[in-house]
Symmetry: C2
Subunit: 144 residues, 2 copies
Amino acid sequence: MLEVLRAADDHPTAAEVYERVRRSSPRIGSATVYRTLALLVSTGRALELNLGDGAAARYDANTRRHDHAVCDGCGRAVDIDHPVPDGMMAEIARRSGFAITGYDLQFRGLCPDCQANGSDPARAAGGTGPTVNTHAKGALHAEA
Amino acid sequence: MLEVLRAADDHPTAAEVYERVRRSSPRIGSATVYRTLALLVSTGRALELNLGDGAAARYDANTRRHDHAVCDGCGRAVDIDHPVPDGMMAEIARRSGFAITGYDLQFRGLCPDCQANGSDPARAAGGTGPTVNTHAKGALHAEA
DNA sequence: CCACTGGTTGAGAACGACTCTCAGTATCAC
DNA sequence: GTGATACTGAGAGTCGTTCTCAACCAGTGG
């Protein structure tokens, strides 16, 4: 199961992981996939991502701290490695009174493929992309 | 409905909005609440938030661009107004190739109340907080 | 070899959040 | 009043996820 996750360069949902694992172990059940995924996350061997489109959680075998850029066109998510400056964290902790332990940053926009395919492609570059319309929710926090 | 949202200084879920609206309009149905909420979001009069704990979406009548700090203890979310520097956006756009239209930033940690009530309070300060255990998912991306 | 124990599994039911469908109702112009 | 149109509430349906439970398995002791 970890192998499946490591082999995936996209960020598969639990359902996608289930489907891929089933190719090698056809008798596996979805409960086992969810259980194992939760175990991997709790032992720090995988990361669970909520990419804010209200759709299913996604999983990532890259456990280093990193953020994501999510395409409003095809739903694809790519890794971003560009930490928020410590000074900003400290400033926010000071202003809010919170003891900040971590953060979660996602950028929204159009991936290079969707930019090339027009400004509002109908998930042209997809493949494993979700089927929900992420535009309504994708507008969340966006200020073009 | 907008009034209910504006009167709320927390970030109510759709179910909480439904419950509050029902006090003044007892015959309203949940479908109408979801429809109206979606309308408010699409016309830019409210913001929909996915606070990454896998729970229900939350709504916010504060439509200015802002971020949130979410308490791992009680689930409370407070507004943060501290934009990511433009230079960082440009750098990420350049490196990823994305046309970035917006972003979504959440900090995780313990709110002042939960810090005062011990390091792992059983949602002591709650009230309208969600009932799910956000710790498993709260660990998402956190590096204490 | 067999019985027992404890952990893991798969199937399917259950759950919560959300969306869809559809009949009923209100509103409007005529 | 009549018909067209839009909106509403109730409830069923969908989707992602979790729970339940019987079946299975490995290990242990006899």
